[in-house]
Symmetry: C2
Subunit: 384 residues, 2 copies
């Protein structure tokens, strides 16, 4: 067994999370308050005003981290049971960095209808729902429908968490390169992450974008596009270019890879505009390794990996975002909140920005609180 595998199994063999009781439960009187007959008073209070669930119950801070196991990390469709460890790990990140009480929940169906109904039916137990590792394009429909039927925020982190952190990284990289919103961006990968990155970047104001999938550039002439790929053509690939990724990269300023390892070469990067920005986020093997990218003339390189400089990882966004959203009791997470989270990351990192550190460290607890506070304020300002 290799070292990482052994360490990982040893780490998980011990109990990693538990429920902890914060209230006193020592005497009969305590029990009479924690359970019957006292708890009936809390029930009666909520009968009269359901919003008081947030005042008097654990729902106020509970999040479900939910998956069907259909697109787990780089492992693919491994089934809901085998996806549980990822949900548990994510729950730990929620608590560690956002003080959000998150629990892992795996759903034993791949049927979109049944998945939506199941999650809807349990949603009143939670302050928010984090969807995770659900395959595209199912994930788009699932999230859209759950947002319609649930009264709480529903957030597919593989889409939006990624998009937020990529946007923050992009803004910082552009700062360093002295470029602006008119850069030409190439996104490789049109699954959950790629499409969300395109949408949020466009929403922010980037207009020159080309998105590629495994068959090359997405353009109006293609007849094999799902509705979500078609949708991005309303703003992307304005000149309706066709061809492969190499064609797309020519003259581009930014490459964002959420695809698979080893598909970009140093020579490809040489064809890009000057000071090219490379975010090669395929896991575990990036689209191009940083030293190759630098060889090709990359100005800034980021990856998804924690053992390389400039890790671009969702964990920088979702804990603070959820903290802020829950504290402000938002009913949904919209693009404005996501952009605010990205801008908060940029602002927080203002004085520490460098080519080898385009983002704050995930372990920096203050950045999560900073994001939370900015998101909370944004939401509260809109309700005034």
């Amino acid at each position: 067994m290799d070292g990482m595998k052994k360490s990982a199994l040893d780490y998980s063999r011990k109990k990693k999370i538990e429920i902890r009781i914060l209230a006193q439960m020592r005497t009969k009187d305590d029990l009479a308050l924690a359970y019957t007959p006292g708890i009936a008073e809390v029930c009666r209070t909520i009968i009269n005003d359901e919003s008081l669930m947030y005042e008097f119950t654990a729902r106020r801070n509970m999040v479900a981290v939910i998956s069907d196991g259909s697109a787990v990390l780089g492992l693919g469709d491994i089934g809901h049971k085998a996806s549980y460890p990822v949900m548990e790990g994510k729950s730990m990140l929620f608590k560690r960095f956002g003080n959000v009480d998150a629990i892992p929940l795996i759903i034993g169906t791949k049927d979109v209808e049944e998945f939506v109904e199941t999650v809807k039916n349990i949603s009143d137990s939670f302050a928010a729902i984090n969807l995770e590792d659900i395959s595209a394009p199912r994930c788009f429909e699932i999230e859209r429908r759950l947002r319609e039927v649930c009264s709480i925020p529903v957030f597919h982190d593989d889409q939006h968490g990624t998009a937020i952190v990529v946007l923050a990284a992009l803004l910082n990289a552009l700062k360093l390169s002295g470029k602006g919103k008119d850069v030409k961006i190439v996104i490789n990968g049109a699954g959950s992450a790629g499409i969300a990155i395109a949408n949020l970047s466009n929403r922010y104001g980037f207009t020159d974008m080309i998105i590629c999938d495994s068959r090359g550039i997405i353009h109006r002439g293609r007849e094999d596009l799902n509705p979500y790929k078609k949708e991005i053509l309303s703003y992307a690939n304005k000149n309706n270019i066709s061809g492969d990724l190499k064609t797309a990269l020519k003259g581009a300023d930014v490459f964002i890879g959420v695809s698979k390892g080893g598909i970009v070469t140093a020579n490809d990067i040489k064809t890009m505009n000057k000071k090219p920005i490379i975010f090669a986020m395929a896991n575990p093997i990036p689209e191009i390794m940083p030293h190759d990218a630098l060889k090709g003339g990359a100005f800034i390189v980021g990856t998804g990996r924690s053992d390389l400089p400039n890790q671009i990882n969702n964990a920088l966004a979702f804990p603070g975002l959820f903290r802020g959203v829950i504290d402000a009791r938002a009913r949904a997470i919209d693009d404005e909140m996501k952009i605010e989270a990205a801008k908060a990351i940029v602002d927080y990192h203002r004085n520490s920005l460098s080519k080898d550190m385009i983002l704050p460290q995930i372990l920096d607890e203050k950045v999560h609180r900073f994001i939370a506070e900015r998101v909370r304020r944004l939401i509260l300002s809109k309700h005034k």
Copy 2:
């Protein structure tokens, strides 16, 4: 606001439960084990052997406390949201007395089909499921169907937890009164608790039983019986007596009330056999108050209330039972395990038994561990 209400709301206004991280999460290396890339190794391990979820994930000790809010305490059908505080309180009891990590889950549908499908779909997230406060007779069908489709124990505590503790109380009361299995038992109330008490007592070996519902004695001539009430006639009311509760009580040794307050009088008790045993468990007002029961000649009186002697409460059974069942990884909870739990309570209390203390205290932590160990051993002995 009265004192109890104020205390109860104050108690619940503060956070009562949270998720706690037990693993180390201080360094980048920790994060690499808690989440990507390390967690992928745990996923791979489970792909190869799903049972390893119990070795490597929080599922091993996670229980869902689930309700649709259709029959909550004495409050009735108050909706799922208003039932949440009870589920949260129950989760606290699970942790406090059984070291079981339980989470409150409320289901936003009253449709049996949809409820079953929802719970089935999330069941692989848990080591066991505790159903709670679901109205009869729906609760019987829901539990039966979930037991069929889930690979983990599904336990409706209002039925079986109550039945276990009543059986333990009954065995102890009979010890004190010097009576045996041939006693005549009258159960008033044929909802979830009444029917489960009848079934488990019969399974234990009591054969002389009459069950009453709000329309009087359940007998073969009645045409208004649901299937569950009909089923108990396979062993109960052998002489096919008809009439009201008063008729039933004449000459009876034991009265078990799971119905409503104030419907039994001292004079009724005078018509019972000598040394009558009275368990008047309606909440918050018992079928007869203890001082009235004693006036009528009751030998032993128990109620559901913590402020009166001889409280008969599920919380004495479910924490230890679940602990034992989870530790032994039983796939279901059967009657033998329930009877073992009742017998464990009796054995534990052997040297402390008195008319004013027919059961151990819920706050006595050792009784829960004793039950757990006895149940665990029973299950493991059967697998040999």
